[in-house]
Symmetry: C2
Amino acid sequence: MTGTQEAARRPALGIDIGGTKVAGGVVAPDGAVLATARRATPGASVQETEDAIAAVVEELAAGPGRDAVGVGVGAAGWFDRTGDRVLFSPHLAWRNSSLRRDLAARFGRPLWVGNDADAAAWAEYRYGAARGADLALMVTLGTGIGGGIVLGGRLQRGSHGVAGEWGHMRVVPDGRLCACGNRGCWEQYASGTALAHTAREVARSSPAAAAVLLERVDGDPDRLTGEHVARAAADGDPLARGLLAEMGEWLGQGIADLAAVLDPEVVVIGGGVSVLGETVLGPARERLERALPGRGFRPGPRVVVAELGAQAGLVGAADLVRTAVAESGVDPSA
Amino acid sequence: MTGTQEAARRPALGIDIGGTKVAGGVVAPDGAVLATARRATPGASVQETEDAIAAVVEELAAGPGRDAVGVGVGAAGWFDRTGDRVLFSPHLAWRNSSLRRDLAARFGRPLWVGNDADAAAWAEYRYGAARGADLALMVTLGTGIGGGIVLGGRLQRGSHGVAGEWGHMRVVPDGRLCACGNRGCWEQYASGTALAHTAREVARSSPAAAAVLLERVDGDPDRLTGEHVARAAADGDPLARGLLAEMGEWLGQGIADLAAVLDPEVVVIGGGVSVLGETVLGPARERLERALPGRGFRPGPRVVVAELGAQAGLVGAADLVRTAVAESGVDPSA
């Protein structure tokens, strides 16, 4: 057996860095998560975040991860295409820092570092809802929209490492202000934040119509979150259901735009908001059907819910470092 | 020399099917066009269009194209990913027809069939403004917007053959009606048709401001075309120059959206409108600089004018059939 064949059969460590915690897992070649570990992280300090990552790696490496082929790290943020440099990370202190080199020196293991939605896209392609697809797009709906592209069996990171940032396509000229500094970004209309935004607008202008929602926040519209809307919808509140449907329509329209650009086989919807399932995806599919450019003359993408849930990021990151080692035979962090 | 190496050194025939004519050329492996031929085509008849293509091929094959490795055909329209079937062609009678098989039987030569903007993208990647780029996007500005993607040395046609149709991204909710049946498509704001549309609107509502434009059409706003605007701008008319700048801004905004989705290294602007050069591209680049998501933290794409002009389609189609034969060693039409 060559070294690269051998690498493909070993477990790998996957790390998902969120705003408040570092979650890690030992991931088998078949995608099974053999063990997990986590640490809280204050987020504001590069040193403390790296310490938390190291603690998770050490814990896993002391157990079922002892033979791990390498460490894959996914984080919300923009990385250059090698993963060497953090270009921008909204919730973390990293900026223009050489994360990959620092961690590689610390761990002495092969390392893959990249965007968490990219890692999730890869996981869904390898083990989940996009298995075997020629061209799969991932759309993660959380506080914002993240994305990833797997084409021809490769994660596509773009020429500078930041492909798949479709949350910042402009879908409304002079629209809602986005944290990115632009107006009208897709994620301002289809995400947890968007849902809360619309709910607050309605509650302020039509308190009577929003009575069920306002009960949940002692009448204070500013406290409404996407979570409140989701729960009210589950309880049958027509306004809340309408807000979810509206978000689904914005989702479907954006998918139609992505279909015009990339013509994917499948679009996988993940992230926290995806647990709402058909309440959002039904209207999204209907909208896509009506908005797909060339409908009637061409097939559109399948729109499916992610299968790997909250572990997609760490599972994908682990398999990406395993794939890199298996293909190159060399340490990608060297 | 193997058969595939040999194929890479032979000329190929390229055919560009437009709304009114079929243009063909013999294209050398270095991209040089050794000979050309053309025929008018009525466009409404599949049979007559195929006859026109055959006449061009026969003329070229009787001369410098006698050793051609195959025939590449590009046309405005949507093809499935093999090129076997025409899904939709706005200016031609083909619909769900098996163009490739019909032509292959007729010519007895290897054949590539596909979208004309895809062929142009390939030509610019191989011989023009995107030479050697890792990820190049083509944006052809004519009566509409066409597009093509070359990634990792491959033309990317999407899962169903219709990638790169970004002219139909929705950039304005409830916007201008598009021939595709949707509203607010990008090509309704950045194309020759868009320019004419805006000019007519202004001329109707502010005839005094549009006096210079209206002089060119005997005062009839309905007769204004993009060409009139371009000429008035060249003559220094401030309104016309403003209309071109406005179109450039829509162009730049759309490129920013494509950069969010795909993160290309270079975007090549081709098509008839691209002859306007910096009058349109200057405002496009300025807009892109202001609208690029993540600006300041990441590089954006270079925006450059196409180098191959009106021959890009036939040059690209020819090289695509040559590449297919050279890589596979077998007739792609078999």
